[in-house]
Amino acid sequence: MEPALDTAHSAADTLILHLDGFEGPMDLLLNLARAQKVDLAKISILSLVDQYLAVIADARKYSLELTADWLLMAAWLTWLKSRLLLPAPSDELEDAEAVAAALTERLAELSAMRKLSAWLGRRPILGDDVFARGMPESHEEIDSSGVVIEPGVFIRAYLRAMRRGAKSTGYTPKPLNFWTLQAALHSMSQRAERQFSWTDLQDFLPESPFNETERRAAVASTFLAGLELAKSGAVQVRQQEAFGPILLRTTPDGSDPAP
């Protein structure tokens, strides 16, 4: 910033003060207190106040712009000074003395922190005074071959699937009476073990009561079973005319029937 403010204070030495070089009112107060060259606990608060106010007055003379905290401190110190000097009821004087003591303590605290800061500054600072390994080697290996199966998640997934499955097929309380391909294969293979000559496909249908849909499904699965066994060489299939009856027989020389 522009005009530096020089002020001579009451002590013999001339302290050159540059207001803009201070961090704030406390910083200035601490510097003024240090200039008294005594133990901080023994500084004269009154002369400290006078010095501070002199600096502020000077700053105003040079029409330096002061931020609120500088002026606030000045006002507060003026109040403190008046309380300490003027004859007043004893309890008010005690108040003022307590406030002065608190200010001394604050200055001592700030001073202590400055010393700690200086102590830290003398430490070997990593990355400036001492250096760590520049190319660290990691011996850590991420193993992501595993998988988490939490029983709760597993169960919920199963129930979710079952619910969806039930919804999409439509839930029917009565089991479906479909003659499945597996059943047809099973039944036909069993009969093939005992050999049979040309037999109508219809004869392989089960005897259970079927409605029309179920009967046609049974015909289809029985026919598929026949084809499957024919493929494995266990039976032969014949149809003599279009839409005529489909006939099956076991393969005469009995090439090994598939199970």
Partner: protein
Amino acid sequence: MTDVTILPTDDTLRLIEALVFASAEVVPMKDISALLPEGIHADVVVKVLKARYAGRGVEVVEVAGGVAFRTALDLAPRLRKLIAKPRRLTPVAMETLSIIAYHQPVTRAEIEHIRGASLSQQTLDQLLELELITPKGRRDTPGRPTIWGTTAGFLSYFGIKALDELPRRDDLLIDRG
């Protein structure tokens, strides 16, 4: 190498040692040379440093473009720290796995029927890759579809010894009686 070998001072060795240690990259020989007093050769310094660290837990190695420190090769495996970061299954994969676990052996078509949704090859592949499921042969039906079952790996991830330790289906499907 040179005809006359001038050995570096301890001070020089310390500086180069610290530089190689602290450098974030391999230190090029020419950078080392630049720091050396007249008459001292970088390769001599590196040789002395290498000898000093020979047999220690860390070694000085010459790699492409310069010099670096490296953990002694025999120690690396002992320092290796496995950090398990197990993956999570997608909801679809988890559903599929649960169906296979409860209905095994089961075909893909049956899984789709139970789930009421189609099953992508990707999901099956994921479960296979993680060795959670395995083919258990083929069903003797048209098309001879592959039937699937769970593996020992599945049991171990689930934390059970045998399949009969899975939560009972009946306990899960109360509304089915």
